[in-house]
């Protein structure tokens, strides 16, 4: 025989083949004999455990008191610093922890040290007995027979049809959860209003930006002029119109045909909303001219018109065509030529509509 591993890796005699395990098995020796605890035999140990449990319950009382003192003695006035709040929070936590852990560990210690620890065995019973099953089948048959649903298919089929259709109003009634999207996603605040080109202004204070202020290597977070004055839907507009403004050496930009006049003196403006799932692409690496989205690390190369060079985004950031007005302020010459932000089903139609 010797059918055991001798420890060498090549000699695994223990891997049994089919059928081999049908040989006799070890018999279940039954529950191991019960072992008494110290507290079962020594009254002193039992007494000690009793005192320990009481001590733990006592700790809980102390915890409750800590909580109450911390709650009432520390006052949160108008000028409370964060340190006071931290202290109160810590003491409330400490108090609750003592109060709860005292009760919890006390009870568990009580159960483990003093309550009987004999393991008992209980029989399992069949979840379903054959007798019950037959009775249930008889009942179902009787019910089906009494309703006559098998004999009267007309009733059954019309009921099925009615029940199938009845939930439709419950779906339809949610129709006003939101408006139809139409082409709201295709436009932003940058579109010229009444023939007036929108100025590029600083985020968040809204002061306009002079082209002369934009030095090489600098970057501005930009919102359209008039955004701060909006009363309704300000965040909705902001979520589409935020822009990053950077100035590079004009030789480093490589505008594609048709985009030559979208920059001014090396100053370019790109949508700040990531084309992946819409986070703000807020990190500008000045040396490499890369824009990085902190959410999923999509990286866009400014020198290649914000082409995706790394990460999960698929499309370049949309560029905002800019120029300078008579007072020297930067303005957007038009809206974006494509919808900004994450892609959506109808996006391609919107691109075509914008450029038509």
């Amino acid at each position: 025989m010797g059918n055991h591993s001798d420890g060498s890796p090549n000699h695994s005699g223990t891997v049994a083949r089919a059928g081999q395990n049908e040989v006799e098995k070890f018999q279940d020796p039954g529950l191991p004999p019960h072992r008494l605890r110290l507290a079962d035999t020594d009254p002193k140990a039992a007494k000690r455990a009793e005192r320990q449990v009481a001590l733990l319950f006592g700790t809980s009382v102390v915890g409750t008191l800590i909580f109450l003192v911390a709650y009432f003695a520390i006052d949160l006035g108008d000028d409370t610093g964060i340190a006071t709040i931290r202290l109160q929070n810590m003491l409330l936590g400490l108090g609750t922890a003592f109060a709860m852990l005292g009760i919890g560990t006390g009870i568990v210690h009580w159960a483990k040290a003093l309550m009987p620890d004999h393991e008992v065995s209980e029989e399992r019973h069949a979840i379903r007995t054959e007798e019950d099953r037959q009775a249930a089948v008889r009942i179902v048959d009787d019910i089906a027979e009494e309703t006559g649903i098998k004999r009267r298919p007309l009733i059954r089929n019309t009921l099925l049809g009615a029940v199938a259709l009845a939930p439709l109003p419950a779906l339809a009634i949610f129709g006003d959860l939101g408006p139809r999207p139409d082409n709201t996603l295709a436009h932003t605040m940058w579109a010229p209003q009444d023939g007036k080109l929108k100025r590029l202004t600083r985020d968040p204070d809204g002061t306009p930006i002079k082209a002369a202020d934009v030095t090489i290597g600098s970057a501005f977070h930009v919102i359209p002029d008039g955004l701060n004055e909006l009363h309704e839907g300000k965040l909705n507009e902001k979520a589409k119109s935020v822009v990053l403004l950077m100035r590079l050496n004009p030789e480093e930009l490589h505008p594609s045909p048709g985009r030559e006049d979208w920059a001014y003196n090396g100053i370019v403006a790109y949508s700040k909303i990531c084309t992946h799932v819409g986070c703000p692409v807020a990190l500008y690496e000045q040396q490499t001219h890369h824009l990085l989205c902190p959410c999923h690390q999509s990286t866009f190369d400014l020198t290649q018109q914000c082409k995706v060079i790394f990460g999960p985004a698929s499309r370049p950031l949309p560029q905002l065509p800019i120029a300078v007005d008579s007072e020297g302020y930067l303005v957007a010459t038009s809206d974006f030529h494509e919808p900004v932000g994450p892609s959506y089903w109808e996006r391609e139609q919107h691109v075509r509509n914008i450029n038509a």
């Binding site: 055991h4 929070n89 065995s121 029989e123 994450p342």
Partner: protein
């Protein structure tokens, strides 16, 4: 009827006041019967059975602390200027929801504590549900008759994540707002209806003014109600099935060995609630979680580097990060028939989670089909005794962990001073090979542990005593196990592959052949439990040594 059918025994009259009240209730609801049924019901005891309890208790803590928070929270997205006592944000424009969250933190005594209790127990809730499911999976507790309870548990896992995410978004701070932004982007990538779903969820364009109120309703009413319903079903089935037990002497599929509910088990489980609460309170008191005042109100323009979702959403966020958006110059996003298919968002958001949850839901039936095992199982498998299942579980777990780690790719890069791009490339590779490695390694480890068990069962445990025999040979004395310890190592089934069987028409069809192949894969590598005959042989082998040492061996054994 009552007049004629008077019981022969005189009606019970309680002596004390408490007794009379108890009797009053008992006569009307039949409490005695329930107590008789459940009062001494036996529950097996094991530390790994406590994860489910942690989940249940953290849910209770969530209900308690959440109710407190609703008294002060206002889910309105109307604009306001903050006037509370946190000076850095004074007069800053923000939503009422964010402002009221700040008030809870700074102007309601104990409010910050309750917020932190709520957030910590939410993290703990999802974590304990997950670990509980891992325990159930690796011990095979999902097998008949518990398959449906496994499904209920899986639904609970999804619901717990839904509860977590809807709650995470409520304070309307910068971090959670960006989280919603990502959800919006993912929803918009859904073909045909994505844009509509987004507009319906947000009541128009993102972010709109509706979404917090809607999430609030889901968070405090719909999702908790569903969770409660599922918990009731879950526990009902636990009572119907009775608890599983680990293998060991005296335990088999026909019995349940453990402590009676009253008093020991009830005391331990009840006391454990207070312990869980105490630990959560400690964390809430000492460790800041979600300091919304640092993030500021939601604004679509700023974002902070190193943003992380709560841990349980991490695997989806990580999958989003791992997916390349362009491969060379080829864009993963495609325009077909004039419509946009954003595969770079759609695939990572839906496919890994879809695979994980589909396999999770179906696994009991998959294994049942492969093994053709239709018997009831109440004794658990030790994970090593089901090597292929354990390996499958670890493969899935590692896959999940790779995605989860990817959600922190930027933090891995900054903490370990490595290139962010390299971290992503490595994780992309691990996404594919990680589960394969995990499968192979786990299976080998499980088989090795089975071999070790066999060794110990046959030759006893190593005592560390080196003895020189009269003829000069050195041996280490092994102490044989007592029969109870040995049974724990040998008392398991080791099924062999089940070859294809002809069906009722006497034909072995294609499906059956495939099943047989899978059965071969599932069971071919296995270590059979030691048998009495082998033990006999082993003793014969070492007989000479043991005869010499038997006297001492007996002493070292009885420790």
């Amino acid at each position: 009827m009552s007049a004629t059918s008077t019981p022969s025994a005189p009606a019970f009259v309680a002596k004390t006041k408490g007794g009379r009240i108890t009797n009053f209730v008992d006569e009307r609801v039949g409490g005695s019967g329930m107590l008789r049924e459940f009062g001494r019901k036996v529950f097996p005891d094991h530390w790994s059975f406590m994860f489910g309890e942690v989940a249940l208790y953290s849910f209770v803590i969530l209900l308690l602390s959440g109710t407190f928070l609703t008294f002060f929270f206002d889910p309105s997205m109307a604009e306001t200027h903050y006037q509370g006592s946190y000076t850095p944000l004074k007069n800053v424009e923000m939503s009422v929801a964010y402002s009221s969250s700040l008030d809870i933190s700074f102007d309601v005594r104990g409010g910050l504590f309750m917020r932190q209790v709520h957030h910590w127990s939410a993290l703990l809730f999802v974590a304990s549900v997950s670990v509980h499911m891992l325990r159930v999976f690796f011990t095979g507790a999902f097998r008949k008759p518990r398959e449906m309870n496994w499904v209920v548990g899986s639904v609970l896992l999804i619901l717990s994540m839904a509860a977590g995410f809807t709650g995470y978004s409520l304070p309307d701070d910068l971090l959670s707002g960006n989280g919603l932004r990502i959800i919006d982007g993912v929803i918009k990538s859904i073909p045909v209806i994505g844009t509509y779903i987004s507009f319906f969820l947000f009541g128009g364009e993102f972010p709109g003014t509706m979404v917090i109120g809607r999430l609030y309703m889901l968070h405090i009413l719909l999702v908790p109600a569903l969770i409660l319903l599922m918990i009731v079903m879950h526990l009902f089935m636990v009572v119907v099935h009775k608890h599983t037990q680990y293998p060991g002497p005296g335990r088999n599929d026909g019995n349940v060995v453990g402590y009676p509910l009253g008093p020991v088990y009830a005391a331990k489980a009840g006391g454990f609630f207070f312990i869980v609460f105490g630990v959560v309170a400690l964390m809430a008191g000492f460790f800041t979680i979600n300091p919304i005042w640092n993030y500021g109100p939601y604004d679509p323009s700023p974002v902070s580097a190193g943003t992380q979702p709560d841990w349980y959403i991490g695997f989806v966020d990580g999958a989003l990060r791992l997916m390349p958006g362009t491969i060379g110059n080829w864009s993963v996003e495609q325009v077909w028939f004039g419509q946009v298919f954003s595969f770079n968002v759609l695939l990572p958001a839906l496919v890994p989670a879809g695979i994980l949850f589909t396999v999770m839901f179906m696994y009991p039936w998959i294994e049942r089909w492969i093994t053709k095992d239709g018997r009831e199982h109440h004794v658990l498998d030790r994970p090593r005794n089901a090597p292929t299942r354990t390996a499958i579980g670890m493969a899935g777990f590692v896959w999940y962990c790779v995605m989860w780690a990817a959600a922190g790719s930027d933090l891995i890069a900054t903490h370990f001073h490595v290139s962010l791009n390299d971290v992503t490339y490595w994780l992309r590779a691990l996404f594919f090979i990680g589960p394969v490695i995990a499968f192979i390694v786990t299976k080998r480890v499980a088989l090795a542990l089975q071999r070790k068990d066999r060794e110990i069962a046959l030759h006893g445990r190593e005592t560390g005593r080196i003895v020189r025999l009269p003829h000069g040979e050195f041996i280490e004395v092994h102490a044989p196990l007592d029969e109870y310890k040995r049974y724990k190592l040998v008392g398991f089934e080791s099924p062999s592959p089940l070859p294809a069987e002809p069906n009722a028409n006497g034909v072995v069809d294609k499906k059956e052949k495939r099943r047989a192949k899978l059965s071969q894969w599932f069971f071919e590598d296995r270590v059979a439990p030691a048998t009495p005959a082998e033990l006999e042989a082993a003793h014969g082998h070492h007989g000479a040594h043991e005869a010499i040492e038997s006297g001492d061996t007996q002493k070292t054994l009885s420790r």
